[in-house]
Point group: D2
Chain length 337, copies 4
């Protein structure tokens, strides 16, 4: 039995990890920590049946854990990662602290890095792309919720060199859980319900850094990402509509074939048939990424649509998937297909 | 032109009053005050086009107002009321500060009263019941959102003496705007969406005090209210399902006739035909109260259903209706029918 | 491996059964039938990954099934049940065809019964109450979605004889999936969203028949049910607020103890602590029934609140739970706790 | 008093027109027709208070009308338009029948045209662009819901010649009322709620024809529209995120200035300040179009965001605005600002 500790357990990603671990046949909760709710039972925080008593993070029994999930904000994660690794405990960080290979880029977007010496050890946890490295990693940087879907769709195209032009437009729509559990004017029911709000549009959202980094690695050249996140009146799910240019010799059928080949053995990638477009309903409450492609109606222009559950494939699901890989388990254990 | 000032203008009821005043042909905004947002234009607080610059409440130019609306919390309203009345300005208070005739009852439910000397001046602002008194009042205590619908439905029955037994059950469901604009865990989108939550069930919600007071006045004897509010995943609207016992000589048809007689000239009471039940869709974005009645399937037992928009007939709409009455205007001015 | 056939597989309860069977370690889909979609793959009907090819019901290979789930409407189910039982196949019927012990009562509410000779064989499938009989049954009549929660809450009280008076009021609120997958004006998004609608209020909803029958059996005397269903703007979940009178010697603490004793070994009954009320968020996407109780603020009057997921504990989840019991399996297999 | 008849009055746009006319000080309902509900009072169809008795369309008293609104589907509108014009009654058609100047283009997208002889008389009813022509028109072709926002945003840019490249990407998200009142699997609450679905993506949605036509007219050269509509889980509102290339000498500030100049006297165009993005909450239940612009983070690339209420500025509101223009009235009468 793998013993998994959770730091920051009372955010939405921590709650989701508890659900995953509760049905995981080979892993169990070692501890669940919370600064705010230390001493309370988990079922006093969320309407569930979990009886785990939350511990203060500094009291978390690292010696009883084989792996920890850091569901803490960027900045806060790095010191926990250092402590866990020093104790010989593997680490899946759900924050941005170890996603960016270049320290300068991190500092630009997020400020001071509190454990830069660990950056070389970190593997970007997009499982389908980096499975090999993840299997040997002690520190996995779980991808951001927004990048996961578009990167999975673009990876085979970028690697194959079929993206022409120097720009990719990602029009993304995310459910409100992506904004976190802290009550704010933005996440107030009355503000979000019956509404749709673009925010941090252009190249101002922090996930642009990850998208840039990964696309450049896949394509072998820089690709300018234009990224427009929108807050959607649903609790869960991200749908991304991606506009790309390809050479005139490519079309949606060929891209679909390329995807099918790249992902034929992937349990969590669902490639839709011609004529079908991915929707949130395809993926919510699953760890899948659904992807679809169609012509933009102009030669050489394609529209890719991806959908994920932001709390599963976009966060805790992929984190558990990575844990499974790190410990040599069947990758699907504990995860809703 | 009636000049109306609004204290606490950046809560939901204040926002709604601004909308009403914007389309009111005989009234205009004198000032809009806010402690938090003083100095900002209104359209920087809510997604609207109102250019009013918010003033700090102590800077509010009372001398330029004929009436003020107090959209402030209980406790905070009383001192504003005192100041306004002292300046010769009429006052419609949307808080609970002047709803309860008995100071002891107020203290029981709300704590210290900061202007008890004004209680004798206050008229309970359920327009259809107290119109006469409101027309001569300088201080109107606007009813709570929950009591408004059930009281309008029960008033003709209680007055007529046809309620038997000593208990009335009110199962009420309210949209989230009823919980106010302050972000809390309860009003977080993810907590409220796709959910339904009973709270303060039984006789623990503060609106029980108003319900008790008014029903006793209408019936001439105490009636025990059992009150179960539920938080509903909509922004606006309250639907109340009311279970009453009557003598066996009464039935739904007779109650409907009684209502029609009582409310035949009321512009904001909509009595549904036999076989139709009130729904939120009947009333949202209007100042109406829809009411319907049917047999409970047991002789002498009836089910009344009322629906209002909690921000209009349940708060700002009724407040403006009361202002219209206080100033001798057509009662429907500025109000969506 | 238990081989389970599904008739009427393309309604919401059929879809939910497919999901349960997909994760059930000891059962698998033998066939999924549909009149409308015969010949199509399941993933062409719903946004999922199921590749089952739908068969016309008359083509369904009964000889390859150990049990069938009838997700067909009342009236349609009875003939399928007869055919299945004749073929030696056990049967869980999710329609109302075998819920009512008294043929006359069935005819009153539903019209002609097409297989009345099977009524004596049918067991009412409220698992926690009838587990013993279900374990030996060949025909289980799965309870209606509305009765399940209130009956579980009332069963210990009725059996103990602590319900006084002759009336129980059930104010119930159901998500739209309860109205079925057929598009109608009522289930149109624009009609249901931002709305709350009472319907079939009093004693006119068909589930009254079940409630009456069971409560009479539990209490040993007739109890008049007043039942007010409301359509709630959520997809899944039923919350029922139940008003009961007890002798003055009972209170919420005692009821909670009674529940805890009655249900101490039940995996799918969650009894909330004092001060907590059941909400939809406690149960959606689980097979649990959450129940809570508090004082109505009047001596001898209590308010019970129950919550279930209407498609799980209210339909397909309980159906699978019953299948598990019928085949001697661990009752929780395949079911989300 | 202008007497307005409504054909197809029981769809959502007809309902909205009734609401507008009910508060319009200079216009009134002459008749409301419906094939399905002829003979019923309007308040039996929708939860409202309108007592108009619906007439069969062939019984509609054209001689009592000064203008008719055609809320009928494309194909059905043309014959009603012919009949109305022949009777000397002005006509605002909310269908697509008279939006496309080129008969061949119409036939391509919609099939046979039943009154092609009227095409030369029709004016495209985008009020802010064609006000002059509308004021003298007897037949106005009210724009489609999707084109309205993007065309208003793009008009000043296209006219000014600052759009470079030959492509405009419009990623649009519409509330479910845009799909009409007829119940379908797509508009079922359970299918639309908690979901987001792209459909007719690329250049396959019929509104592409209008967008192409108008942009070509404004820019004086063809511009290829890539159009991705998505079904959004709200009842009302369309938000469009528009990706355009401009010369490097343009930026968001300049575009904002251009808009302010072009629309300075427009009562229904709201241009947001720098740093603010249009959201549905800016416009729902108003006749406004909100528009905002920001840099895409790449030189010469801009993101425009427009928001409208699809039933008001996107349909019935603009139709009434056009009626006001056609009859020389204050353009804002009856319309919520």
């Amino acid at each position: 039995m793998i013993r998994a500790g959770i730091y920051g357990a009372t955010g939405y990603t921590g709650y989701e990890l508890l659900k995953i671990l509760a049905r995981h046949p080979r892993a169990a909760v070692a501890f669940a920590s919370s600064t705010t709710y230390a001493g309370m039972r988990y079922c006093e925080v969320y309407p569930c049946t979990y009886e785990h008593v939350l511990v203060a993070p500094e009291q978390a029994p690292l010696d009883q854990a084989d792996v920890v999930f850091l569901c803490t904000p960027h900045g806060a994660s790095a010191p926990y990662a250092r402590r866990a690794l020093a104790a010989g405990v593997k680490c899946v960080d759900l924050s941005a602290d170890f996603r960016l290979r270049d320290l300068g880029v991190y500092q630009n977007w997020y400020g001071t890095h509190l454990a830069p010496e660990l950056l070389p050890d970190a593997v970007y946890g997009l499982t389908e792309v980096y499975r090999q490295q993840i299997s040997g990693a002690r520190l996995v940087a779980n991808p951001g919720c927004y990048p996961t879907g578009p990167l999975l769709a673009l990876y085979p195209l970028a690697r194959e060199g079929i993206l022409s032009g120097d720009k990719v437009i990602i029009d993304a729509k995310s459910g409100v859980s992506g904004a976190g559990a802290r009550p704010t004017p933005t996440t107030h029911f009355v503000a979000a319900h019956d509404n749709l709000s673009p925010y941090n549009v252009g190249r101002s959202h922090r996930h642009v850094a990850e998208l840039d980094q990964e696309l450049r690695l896949y394509a072998g050249r820089p690709l300018g990402v234009v990224f427009s996140p929108h807050l959607l009146p649903v609790s869960r799910g991200i749908l991304s509509t991606v506009y790309v240019s390809t050479g005139p010799s490519w079309n949606d059928d060929k891209v679909r074939s390329l995807w099918r080949e790249a992902y034929q053995h992937e349990p969590f990638v669902q490639i839709l048939d011609a004529g079908k477009m991915a929707t949130l309903a395809h993926v919510v409450n699953t760890n899948r990424c659904a992807m679809s492609v169609c012509s933009a109606g102009i030669e050489g222009e394609l529209i890719l649509v991806t959908a994920i559950d932001n709390l599963l494939k976009g966060a805790s699901g992929q984190a558990a998937q990575n844990m499974n890989v790190m410990f040599g388990l069947d990758e699907t254990l504990g995860l809703p297909a």
